[in-house]
């Protein structure tokens, strides 16, 4: 009996199920960053691009402009995170911004 096995590390962990995009407007109240009503099932990566005009502060629920990680206009962040971890965005007082949110599964 012979047993053979092959493994291609180049394609062993490639997102190949879903790719969804959405525009999300953020203001002074935190907004969960996702492309649908809930985070994409089996999400592996989320990419958030700030189209401006103001910075958006990224973090978990309860994030504020003082505690969040700033994402400036034309800057993007790519995070390897599943659908159980919710990511929020918020702007500083009187500001708004539009984000392009893309989720990969």
């Amino acid at each position: 009996m012979a047993i053979g096995m092959s493994f291609n590390p180049d394609k062993s962990d490639v997102n190949n199920t879903s790719y969804v995009t959405a525009s999300v407007v953020v203001s002074t109240i935190q907004v969960e960053l996702k492309t649908g009503l809930t985070p994409l099932q089996s999400r592996q990566v989320i990419t958030i691009t700030n189209k401006g005009p103001n910075p958006v502060y990224i973090g978990p629920s309860g994030v504020t402009s003082l505690t969040g990680d700033p994402l400036y206009k034309d800057q993007f962040v790519s995070i390897q995170v599943g659908d159980n971890l919710k990511i929020y965005g918020i702007c500083a007082a009187t500001q708004t911004a539009t984000l392009i949110v893309q989720e990969y599964a």
Partner: protein
């Protein structure tokens, strides 16, 4: 393998720190530093020259640039979309006079008054003005009224916002 917790953030100028301890900038990130630099370059858009006239100068006299009466040949404006934002003067005595800045096309052709400032019993003065200038025309300065001894005058030109 996850690097940095599987997070990548693209760099933008505003997110890049700027070390201002080696210069007189106030900015602490590259974006603000570049804006500050633009403002400083804006300041140097001025001609950086002055007109003057040695001795006693009476009303009607044109100040000189490089020994040439500025109404004959003045200082050419090199840039478009600019304006005079400041006029500064100096003289030897506590003089009272009115200074005018004109533009023309050489030899007083199409001579156009741009700004008028008045100095009262002072050796130096500066005035904030808003006087658009025309690219290609020559700027000239005239002591319009009064008198001054060893008078020097200049202006700062900036881009019109």
């Amino acid at each position: 393998m996850k690097i940095n917790g599987g997070v990548y953030k693209s760099p933008v100028a505003r997110s890049v720190p700027f070390d201002n301890t080696e210069c007189d900038f106030e900015s602490e990130n590259v974006q603000d530093a570049l804006v500050e630099l633009c403002d400083k370059v804006d300041d140097s858009n001025s001609p950086g020259f002055t007109w003057g006239r040695s001795g006693s100068t009476n009303a009607g006299a044109w100040l000189l640039n490089d020994t040439v009466p500025s109404n004959k040949a003045g200082r050419t404006v090199m840039f478009t979309g600019t304006q005079i934002v400041n006029i500064f003067t100096a003289s030897e005595d506590l003089d009272t006079y009115t200074l005018r800045i004109y533009e023309h096309e050489g030899n007083e052709i199409n001579l156009t008054l741009l700004a008028t400032v008045s100095v009262v019993a002072s050796r130096s003065a500066q005035f904030s003005v808003t006087a658009p200038v025309t690219q290609g025309k020559q700027l000239a300065a005239q002591l319009f009224l009064g008198a001054a001894k060893n008078i020097v005058a200049g202006c700062i030109i900036k881009n019109i916002p």
